[in-house]
Subunit: 143 residues, 2 copies
């Protein structure tokens, strides 16, 4: 298995509401067959009916909401961008963790999108961001 | 907000168990401070304590398990790779949807990792995969 991802699909309750939420953050996507595809670097972030996703995956959707155990992080290039983006996401978002200094010398906050999907906006000087937006895990010197 | 992701953090109950699960799939990571970082193309997939992630994000972790409303897809280059990877993931994984032909002319199946995180292994001839593993959302001609 090559060490990469291709798509992240977020199950949503109301496609238009979610599309508008990501649009207000500046993301442009394509809507086709009740699905929204955002090209996000070398992969795609996809919005699709939560019910359809559960059905497609063969899993039971017992209860929406609550902590899904997954966080999507968007790292920024400058510390000030964290406050800017946390403010930009206010409409439809719930700030669960206001931006604050982190143990690793960075600055980060979290919000949830309209379906409770967790996003972290982080400035982490230890994780270089290339011009094309890709990040590189630093060499921690771990065995 | 640039249209890209930096990290996907998966909250896990047992770091060693999860690390071994991804290792058997062929992924090599770095373990540092009770965290495993996998470089996955231009972003990082991170394994971290579910409790720590919930605490860091300022959310309550009421109930683990169940459908999180998120699926991570790994697209492959050849149809036969789907069966190969679905089989490779058997140890520790639960196949929720055996591989089958899809409505878009592809072939795909789903499994969950030891913490219930949902992975789709898909062959989708409509989504080109570059030599470096990045994918490009096709132009659907949508308005």
């Amino acid at each position: 298995m090559e060490q990469r991802l291709s798509l992240i699909t977020l199950g949503v309750a109301d496609l238009a509401r979610s599309r508008d939420f990501y649009r207000q953050l500046g993301w442009q996507g394509q809507e086709v067959e009740h699905t929204v595809f955002f090209q996000a670097g070398g992969l795609a972030v996809v919005l699709w009916s939560r019910r359809s996703l559960a059905e497609d995956a063969g899993v039971e959707d017992r209860a929406a909401g609550g902590f899904a155990g997954v966080a999507l992080a968007h790292n920024v290039r400058e510390r000030a961008e964290v406050d800017h983006l946390m403010a930009a996401a206010q409409a439809g978002a719930v700030v669960t963790q206001p931006a604050r200094d982190t143990s690793y010398g960075g600055y980060a906050g979290y919000f949830t999108d309209p379906d409770g999907h967790l996003w972290e906006i982080a400035w982490n000087p230890g994780f270089p961001i290339a011009a094309d937006g890709t990040i590189t895990v630093p060499d921690f010197g771990a065995p």
